[in-house]
């Protein structure tokens, strides 16, 4: 399979997408092009996403092999089944496997990286610095450098829900008179019915990525979403989805229902307690968008356990569970306890 690379029209070096400027830059002759300009200049590359007929013809072959030819050095490299953008292991130039993005795998939208690798590293270092009990090997420069920019395939769903709610609300009032305590309870029938729209609920379409990790780096600013262009992928890794929209729908449904419940619950107020008798949240319609969203990834292995971290490549929001040096924490906790014991003993002794 041929891979696609975006070449500088001036010096023929590889163009890379720069999150800072949102443009494709040539590191050799310092030329800079907007995505639209590259789309015009590199029409052949842009149009290299095969149509459905070509895709059908090549489908069987591509499913059996994952080889690509690097157009810079001619190397033949194996790629993972879902990878759509990567780097040549020999000449380290970015390559885009456009053949894998045909048909149903062609993304609708993309949000380009806005956080550079350096900025991501700074955010990560600051985040780690606040955690005193991470192992010191974790903070080493060598470990932190293993950070990868990846376009993660996401499904975003716009849902229309019909919410119906019936419950009993109680208002309770108490007072004392003489030797008795009186309690008055008023009961109300609470009914709500609403048409609710939730927009842009994301669910990552990659099975090997932790769903909770991706939820933790939300939200993405969809106002910066652009029509998909492969030029955004240059210089980063990218994967196509292996979890289709039917498979992610249960997650979407759960989150949409939760959103609907919050709308209903926020409309009920003034009661001491409310109990629901019947509530239904039906999704009437779902509009899907397949988008490539930017994420910086880092993994760390500590005591045979893998720790994953992710930084939203657009907003910089960070998520992950750092390793915890439990021995150090236990010692510090004990020291704190002993100090409190001493103070409590001295203070208590002074009062008696």
């Amino acid at each position: 399979m041929d891979a696609v690379q975006y070449k500088c029209p001036n010096c023929n070096a590889e163009l890379k997408f720069d999150p800072d400027t949102q443009r494709l830059n040539c590191e050799y002759c310092m030329s800079s092009f907007s995505v639209e300009e590259v789309q015009q200049i590199c029409q052949e590359a842009e149009n290299s996403i095969p149509d459905q007929e070509e895709e059908n013809n090549k489908e069987e072959f591509e499913e059996q092999t994952a080889l690509y030819h690097c157009s810079s050095c001619g190397a033949e490299i194996m790629a993972e089944a879902n990878q759509t953008a990567t780097f040549c292991y020999y000449c380290h130039n970015p390559v885009i496997l456009s053949g894998k993005m045909g048909g149903e795998y062609k993304p609708d939208k993309v949000i380009g990286f806005k956080i550079t690798k350096e900025e991501a590293l700074i955010k990560f270092k600051n985040w780690v610095a606040k955690r005193w009990f991470v192992p010191k090997e974790f903070k080493s420069g060598q470990q932190i450098e293993k950070m990868t920019g990846l376009y993660v395939p996401f499904w975003t769903a716009d849902c229309k829900l019909k919410a119906d709610y019936q419950g009993i609300g109680k208002k309770v009032r108490s007072w004392t008179s003489g030797n008795y305590r009186y309690t008055e309870t008023k009961e109300f029938s609470v009914r709500r019915s609403a048409d609710i729209t939730v927009g842009g609920i994301p669910a990552d379409g990659e099975s090997k990525i932790d769903d909770a990790l991706m939820e933790a780096i939300e939200p993405f600013d969809y106002s910066e979403m652009k029509p998909f262009s492969m030029s955004y992928l240059s210089g980063f890794f990218a994967d196509k989805y292996d979890v289709d929209k039917q498979a992610v729908f249960p997650r979407i449904k759960t989150r949409a229902t939760s959103a609907g419940k919050s709308v209903i619950n926020s409309s009920i107020s003034g009661y001491s307690s409310v109990s629901a008798r019947e509530e239904n949240y039906n999704i009437l319609k779902t509009d899907w968008t397949y988008a490539m969203l930017p994420v910086w990834f880092m993994t760390y292995k500590y005591k045979n356990k893998i720790y994953e971290f992710a930084i939203n490549g657009q907003t910089g929001r960070l998520a992950g569970t750092p390793p915890l040096d439990k021995g150090k924490l236990r010692l510090v906790s004990l020291a704190v306890g002993l100090a409190v014991t001493a103070v409590a003993f001295l203070v208590g002794g002074g009062k008696i």
């Binding site: 009914r191 609710i196 729209t197 989150r255």
Partner: protein
């Protein structure tokens, strides 16, 4: 290598724990003078003083003999004062404590029984003042002694009979013997708030001193240790929770507010009902405390008749 680190850390923690009470104890190295003056066996002043002049000479003589006998047996000074003067409750306490010290000195082992026979309209108020080892021995029995003496003594407004007073004093001496509790020798202590002193036994010897008893220090240390351990545990759990996943972005943030509309929004009144519960009232008792103007430390208690 790792196990050596763990062992050395454990040893460091254990040494700190062992050093802690020593360090803290040294902070409590208060004045350790023992003010206990004991009992020298001189029963000359162990008498009943009948200021009311209600007893006959015979009765008075008999009671004096009894008092001396009990004094020798129990090895404590005993003084019974039959008062004809109306005093307030506080004045009664101070009077009894001061009188004891005037007769027997500060912090000696003894008891003074102040019996109010003034027939005042606002009620009789008796007082038992204890000193030395009696502070400790009779600390929990004063109320019981008074309750038993009520059998003999008249209530306010009733006629006072000399025979009854005689019987009351005789019974009082018997209760002193009955309730002389020496089991407190090991762990018991009393704290006299007015003077700030503690009364307790250490190595079989009575102490009336500013220094806290060992058992109290141990109690303090255990309580402080529990507080410290709880704080350590809370610290550990709070820090550990920071190393877990943060809450994800709320789904409610994806609601498109201007495309959301309510078709029905009603709150309809159904009914109202009322319940009531009776409030249980409780009454508590009261107990007197000790205090006087002298330098000795006293215990004891008072009783209204």
């Amino acid at each position: 290598m790792r196990s050596r680190k763990i062992i050395s850390s454990l040893i460091a923690v254990l040494l700190s724990l062992m050093a802690l009470p020593v360090i803290c104890l040294s902070a409590f190295a208060a004045d350790d003078t023992n003010y206990a003056a004991g009992y020298d066996g001189n029963t000359e002043d162990c008498i009943v003083f009948d200021a009311k002049d209600i007893l006959t000479d015979d009765q008075e003589e008999k009671l004096n003999e009894l008092i001396k006998e009990y004094s020798e047996n129990l090895e404590i000074y005993i003084f019974v004062y039959l008062s004809d003067t109306n005093l307030s409750d506080d004045e009664t306490k101070y009077y009894a404590d001061d009188m004891y010290e005037d007769v027997f000195g500060e912090d000696t082992d003894g008891v003074l029984y102040y019996m109010d026979l003034s027939e005042a309209y606002d009620g009789a108020y008796d007082w038992i003042s204890t000193s030395g080892k009696c502070v400790l021995n009779y600390a929990d029995d004063i109320d019981t002694i008074f309750a038993n003496l009520d059998y003999y003594l008249p209530s306010t407004g009733e006629t006072i009979y000399p025979d009854k007073i005689f019987d009351a004093v005789e019974a009082f001496l018997g209760y002193l013997d009955q309730y002389s509790d020496y089991s407190k020798k090991t762990f018991g202590y009393e704290h006299v708030e007015e003077t700030g002193k503690y009364v307790y036994y250490k190595n079989g010897e009575l102490y009336v001193t500013n220094q806290k008893p060992p058992i109290l220090l141990l109690e303090l240390f255990i309580i402080a240790l529990i507080i410290g351990l709880v704080v350590a545990l809370i610290f550990y759990l709070v820090v550990k929770s920071r190393y877990k996943f943060k809450n994800p972005y709320g789904s409610s943030n994806y609601v498109v507010r201007d495309q959301t509309k309510f078709i029905e929004k009603s709150d309809t009144f159904i009914r109202t009902y009322q319940t009531r519960t009776k409030i249980e009232s409780s009454s508590g008792g009261s107990r007197g405390g000790g205090g006087h103007h002298g330098g000795g430390s006293h215990g004891g208690g008072g009783h209204h008749r």
